[in-house]
Symmetry: C2
Amino acid sequence: MLELFELRGADPEILFSPYCWRVRLALAHKGLPFTGSPLRFTDKEPLACSGQNLVPVIRDGETVVNDSVAIFEYLDATYPQQPLLGDSLAANRARLLEKLTFTALRMPLLKLLVPRVYAAIDDADKDYFRTSREKALGMTLEAFADRQLGLDSFVLAVGPLEAWLKTQPYLDGEQPAGTDYLVAGLFFWAWCLGEQPWPAESAVDAWFQRILKRYEAEFGVVKRAA
Amino acid sequence: MLELFELRGADPEILFSPYCWRVRLALAHKGLPFTGSPLRFTDKEPLACSGQNLVPVIRDGETVVNDSVAIFEYLDATYPQQPLLGDSLAANRARLLEKLTFTALRMPLLKLLVPRVYAAIDDADKDYFRTSREKALGMTLEAFADRQLGLDSFVLAVGPLEAWLKTQPYLDGEQPAGTDYLVAGLFFWAWCLGEQPWPAESAVDAWFQRILKRYEAEFGVVKRAA
């Protein structure tokens, strides 16, 4: 059976990595059974088989693949049912959509979620998380975090997706596909950390709820941080 | 032969509508011969056959199609060689990419280009342009225009495309397709009005020049406003 190495909080059932959620949703989309292996940030040893040290990693028999988009490509090549990325033109566009939406949404979410991540992770991870993120951000977590700015800028950034989702149920059309999961991973990040930075009465919320309900119908209720 | 109704300035060879450029580039991509019928903003009568009054409109025998994206769909359905949008998944993503890039790039360009458009159009169009745009913008053209803000915000907005085009020659991959032309139309808008708001030594510039050179190899040098 496929194995998914993913990120966990202090509570092993709190899964919050946006990249790992992409892969969970992709595996569910294709109906591929898998076992999750939740790891702390500092549990690097099980990832050695991938030749790098970041989740998500999947192991499928002899094959090990890391990076969420590369995993989508692998899954489409190996299990062609229910395409995620589609043919080369469609796949290229999904990758560009991933870049554009990630660029627009990640920073607002990070401003909002950094304190939530820090609270959710295991004590063993706190030094690692603080040190690595403060180096990347060039400031302390506390100086970077800004809940109101994060919320305000997220609502602005999600505007074009809100307009799009007023016209059709999924980013990829009448049915969800790769673009939906690449973007929804960011929404699950917030959701599992106990936040919902998009308006409750919005097309974006209806879209997220559709994806969540499909997932939960198979895997049970997604656990959220308090 | 296909006929393209498009927008002209006081000089009938100055074609600057971003939507009309999309269609020119798409027709060139498919190798479809066409005659251009350049119209002033206020030349509405020839568009009556389309049941609305905005360019671009194409007439192909008995068929009349308006709206640049609808024209791409029509061209792919009728002339399947060299697909612009591709299959339904790829086409849906191209339309979403159009929305995201248009939302990001249009307003910066408009801030920069409004005085250029006003200078380029025929005297007969100036009242129409001022009245319709000032109503849409909720302020005078002069109050809206802001060259430096337009330039600065354009460079910011184009950042994700710059990063993407550092990895491959076209937005759609190794060869240009629909997404390239949907976005490039906005660049031709600026270019034909005598502006180049992207940095000269950039991946975005190299991409634009590739598309421009392919077009000019067939149609001759694109005329620009002074």
